[in-house]
């Protein structure tokens, strides 16, 4: 069951350097994200726009593109990446399995059902609202669906002790929810199908300050609170029984983690659709590089996840400009081979040693 190795003591000493380096990487990615886009803007213009904004001077020229389109989008990408990667790290720690991702406890599938239900069946409801509020309706439904599915998985998983029940409940609920998605897909019209398929590929398009402000709290809170569970997660690596002997209540830990992860992932998926692979890949890569100590792994995942999603979103905006690629395609396309390379390199290294 326990396929994540135990942390070694030396990680502790170098964690400030690692986190500092990753923070620098995040900042570099943010600058890249601000500098890239369909509209060709020089570095001077971008920095000038930021400077004028910070100094409170009136915007000029294309400042609006940087301040109203790119900046909220970069911040959203950072938050979404951090939320997904930290959630992934926490879930992998909770299940002591590096192949787990946040979607396992039903969040992504539940959110998909909520969003698709709103797209397909909520037509009348959405038509009654102004168009802009209507697009929030899909996000709200997705958020609600994600939380509901997770709650269901958690309640079923609690019926019997141990993580295995939680995991199997997740698999079963996922299957049922996906059947609902399939049924709604059948009911959908041509246009709804297109909306649906784009939603499942994820996109940060349409991010503005209002949307950012709406989803920032539910994503930021778990990203800040999850690292507080690092010691408990480390203890859990020894086994549930051992963790309990060390004074950590596995049931309470599970409840907290599932709630925080549901909040963060639910909000991220609700606003930006399904952005695959970040929650699985980032913590896994970091663990391969610097070991499984959650005191380092959780904050490092937040920083690296943010940087990855910012970079992927920048690529998505530039690759087929003036159109945009769905970001989920890029995270999987870039992440998959890199992951494989890292995995093979490490395993081959181990075999040779």
């Amino acid at each position: 069951m326990n396929s994540i190795a135990l942390p070694r003591e030396r990680t502790r000493a170098r964690s400030p350097y690692v986190l500092g380096g990753l923070a620098a990487l995040l900042l570099a990615a943010a600058l890249l994200g601000l500098g890239c886009g369909a509209l060709r803007l020089g570095a001077g213009e971008v920095l000038g726009a930021l400077g004028r904004w910070l100094a409170g001077r009136p915007a000029q020229g294309d400042d609006m593109v940087v301040l109203m389109l790119r900046l909220p989008r970069v911040l959203m990408a950072a938050l979404v990446g951090a939320a997904l990667a930290t959630s992934g790290a926490a879930m992998q720690g909770l299940f002591r399995n590096p192949l787990v991702e946040p979607g396992l406890v039903g969040i992504s599938a539940g959110a998909a059902l909520g969003a698709i239900g709103m797209i397909v069946l909520g037509g009348g409801l959405l038509a009654a609202l102004p168009a802009l509020l209507g697009s929030f309706g899909v996000a709200l439904a997705a958020f609600g669906g994600g939380l509901a599915a997770t709650l269901l998985v958690y309640l079923i998983g609690r019926l019997r002790p141990g993580m295995a029940t939680l995991l199997l409940a997740g698999v079963a609920v996922n299957a049922v929810v996906m059947a609902g998605v399939g049924l709604l897909t059948y009911l959908a019209t041509e246009h709804q199908l297109r909306d649906l398929s784009f939603w499942t590929l994820g996109s940060l398009g349409g991010t503005d300050w209002v949307r950012l402000a709406a989803v920032a709290p539910p994503m930021l809170l778990p990203v800040l609170l999850l690292p507080r569970q690092a010691r408990a997660l480390n203890a859990l690596l020894l086994g549930e029984h051992e963790a309990a002997l060390l004074g950590f209540d596995p049931a309470r830990l599970r409840r907290r983690l599932v709630a925080l992860v549901a909040l963060a992932t639910g909000a991220a998926v609700a606003m930006c659709g399904v952005i695959g692979f970040v929650g699985l890949l980032v913590p896994h890569v970091l663990r391969l590089l610097w070991g499984p100590d959650h005191r380092l792994l959780l904050p490092a995942s937040a920083l690296a996840g943010g940087a990855l999603v910012i970079a992927a979103d920048a690529a998505a905006r530039v690759a087929v400009a003036p159109a945009e690629l769905p970001i989920g395609v890029l995270t999987a396309l870039l992440g998959g081979p890199f992951f494989l390379w890292l995995l093979l390199r490490t395993r081959i290294g181990e075999a040779a040693a």
């Binding site: 886009g37 369909a38 509209l39 060709r40 609006m64 593109v65 109203m68 389109l69 790119r70 038509a127 168009a131 802009l132 209507g134 697009s135 059948y186 959908a188 019209t189 041509e190 246009h191 297109r194 909306d195 784009f198 996109s203 398009g205 349409g206 503005d208 949307r211 905006r317 087929v320 400009a321 003036p322 159109a323 945009e324």
Partner: protein, 370 residues
């Protein structure tokens, strides 16, 4: 889908108001106030459907539109004041109404320099109106004419990226009714881009009204009027031909076929409207939208003709390929080899090429009637 038909009255009303523009404009500002950027919301209109779907415009209405009106917001730019202004206004109105060419030359706005067209039907219309040179970008559904495919593509029309459109520096964005997402359009408006959204069209009157409105927006009212009249003539001829059909054959429109069960068009689809206009009866009336139908269901529908998109003809292996699909050979259409390929975008886009396509389909269906 449901409210698309309802909104159709809107474009028509605008057309009528525009032609009434000059008289009211010279006396007082029109009640609508400044309408430089009328925002037509996605699919909700308060007006009932315009007169006569599927029937050519009544003569009176066509005459009323003979003078292409200027944008009401523009006509007010030169209000005449002074003694006897009422008489002057009256005479001026008469002159304007009777001299469309002069009138157009006087008030036509300078044509917009950089236009982005979002929607296959809109791009077709821009080219047909001779304004193709002003186009700087299109969406991915704009596949006709070939020149449109060489322009920068801003992606799928319902998944637009604000910055992508902005990077083309458009002075005017002409958008189909379902362009989106709404927040991208809001961001574009916030950036000062002028976006004109066209109402959905599935009836001849709406197709023609859309064309006139596009002509006015592109500063080409005369070209729009010529094309509109030609289309009105075509639709009138179509209506006559349809009325002369002794029997209206049952038609199944298969959107996709080949892999899995074919997707047949039900009620409330563009294909349903196109079939009805061409004098056919949609064999599918049990559901709305596009849904997969089993081979058995296809036999039970008993279509006299099966219509498919020409874009898919090669992949399907032509008529013989379609006849080889499960169930097709057992339908009346299959037994008589009445498999019809139509140009999907031209027919279902309900743009300027729709009329010719409808007439071609009508001729095929008329010949098909046993």
């Amino acid at each position: 889908m449901r409210d698309e038909a309802i909104v159709s009255g809107k474009g028509e009303r605008r057309g009528v108001r525009a032609s009434a523009g000059p008289s009211s404009a010279l006396r007082a500002p029109p009640p609508g106030g400044r309408r430089k950027n009328p925002r037509v919301p996605g699919g909700r209109g308060e007006n009932p459907r315009g007169v006569g779907e599927g029937i050519p415009l009544p003569a009176g209405e066509s005459a009323g539109r003979a003078c292409p009106g200027p944008d009401p917001g523009r006509a007010r730019v030169r209000p005449k004041r002074g003694a006897g202004h009422r008489l002057h206004a009256f005479l001026a109105t008469l002159a304007l109404l009777c001299l469309p060419a002069l009138h157009a030359a006087e008030t036509a706005a300078p044509p917009p320099q950089r236009v982005v067209a979002l929607g296959g039907d809109i791009t077709e219309a821009v080219y047909e109106l001779g304004a193709g040179a002003a186009l700087v970008g299109v969406d991915s559904t704009s596949q006709w004419p070939d020149a449109a495919r060489k322009l920068p593509d801003v992606g799928y029309v319902r998944q637009l990226a604000a910055e992508g459109v902005l990077s083309l520096r458009p002075s005017l964005v002409l958008a189909t009714h379902d362009a989106g997402p709404p927040q991208a359009l809001a961001q574009l408006r916030q950036a000062g881009v002028r976006i004109e959204t066209m109402p959905p069209t599935r009836a001849p009157a709406d197709v023609v009204a859309k064309l006139r409105r596009l002509g006015a927006l592109l500063g080409r009212p005369a070209a729009a009027e010529r094309l509109a009249r030609q289309l009105e003539g075509e639709y009138a001829a179509l209506a006559r031909d349809v009325a002369a059909m002794p029997r209206h054959p049952r038609v199944a429109f298969l959107m996709t076929a080949g892999a899995g069960s074919p997707m047949a068009a039900g009620r409330d689809t563009a294909a349903d409207a196109a079939i009805a206009l061409a004098g056919g009866v949609n064999a599918v009336h049990g559901y709305a939208g596009y849904k997969p139908v089993s081979a058995e269901a296809l036999v039970a529908l008993a279509p006299d003709a099966i219509v498919l998109m020409r874009e898919r003809a090669d992949a399907l292996g032509g008529v013989d390929g379609v006849l080889g699909l499960p169930g097709v050979a057992q339908t009346p259409a299959g037994r008589a080899r009445r498999i019809v390929f139509v140009d999907g975008q031209a027919l279902l886009g309900f743009g300027p090429r729709n009329a010719a396509q409808e007439r071609a389909l009508q001729r095929t269906l008329a010949a098909a009637a046993p």
